[in-house]
Symmetry: C3
Subunit: 141 residues, 3 copies
């Protein structure tokens, strides 16, 4: 399966916290780097998600917020990934940015050109990607 | 009511699965074609949603992922609609694609140009739309 | 902390409705104007959210739908903010619109150019912003 999601981060399911409708799934995408996805309980069953299972987090680039001087403890977005901007491609309304997260991991974000200007984002600048858990889709092989 | 959501799919509520905060609503948009939306329990009450009630699923085009060679059983997105690409309109960052789902149903997706290239999407190619249930808004008349 | 979210609406937490995984947080952003965000229960704890606490709602511009002739009681989006279009900036695929909500509040939305045309949106026209509670990120100082 190939998808249009510009971000496909493979990992290992570490923990699942099930509710009556939704479930939180913690996925380790690098040593010590865990991301959290909220999917439905039905999807946990359908994909047979459980600790130790390989899964891939699919994240559309326009679901990614970029932030500077972020304090992860002060924002409800469950995923906050720090990195360095490596590329900025500007369009008339939106811009596409690439963030190097280290360890060979990259993330693509699409934000408005207005925000690129306001945050002074350009190659070499540090930024963090904020992603709500409910915006992540999980896929298995 | 008219909205900017490029996708407005009318249907009939088939089932509702209520949790303490959220509810899953299954909406039949064509014979045998059901989509799932997650809305709040409060919205289910406010809109008086129940089996048999007409409702329309509103889906912003930038919430739609496109995929090829998809196995719906291996992705957590609760909605996977197969179709054929009928139109591609390219911008500098984003592209807008139209997918013919058959039965007179169409879906519009906005994805990055990078993904259009990577997936080789062009008119005549088969693709599936992946939409997370929590990204769908329901409206009633 | 500065983020790429074009909309950052400060307010006061008025109520929290906790479920096993998610929580609804009502945030008053102006007298009598409350918006609802769904965040995880874990985030409520991590940010120490409780009635009376200051928090800021972060809303990416591409999560905002615009609607005309909207009846808030007939749509599941928990947030419906009425205003007047003050600016439209067109790109080849997407357009960026500014909505004056009154009381000094503004909202930026990115929707497709096709929708701008279909809805006849231009400066001076009334429109409402529809935002799903699950698309809002909360931040605290």
């Amino acid at each position: 399966m190939r998808t249009s999601a510009r971000n496909a981060l493979p990992g290992i399911v570490k923990a699942i916290n099930q509710g009556p409708i939704s479930a939180e799934v913690d996925l380790e995408i690098a040593p010590g780097m865990t991301i959290c996805a909220i999917v439905t309980k039905r999807s946990v069953a359908a994909l047979d998600l459980k600790p130790g299972r390989k899964a891939t987090a699919l994240i559309k680039s326009n679901f990614v917020l970029l932030a500077r001087d972020v304090d992860a403890g002060k924002v409800s977005a469950r995923n906050c990934l720090a990195g360095v901007v490596t590329n900025v491609m500007d369009g008339p309304i939106n811009s596409e940015l690439t963030l190097d997260l280290g360890g060979g991991l990259e993330l693509t974000a699409v934000i408005t050109g207005g925000s690129v200007q306001a945050l002074g984002l350009k190659p070499g600048e540090r930024a963090s990607a904020l992603i709500k858990a409910s915006h992540i889709i999980l896929a298995v092989d």
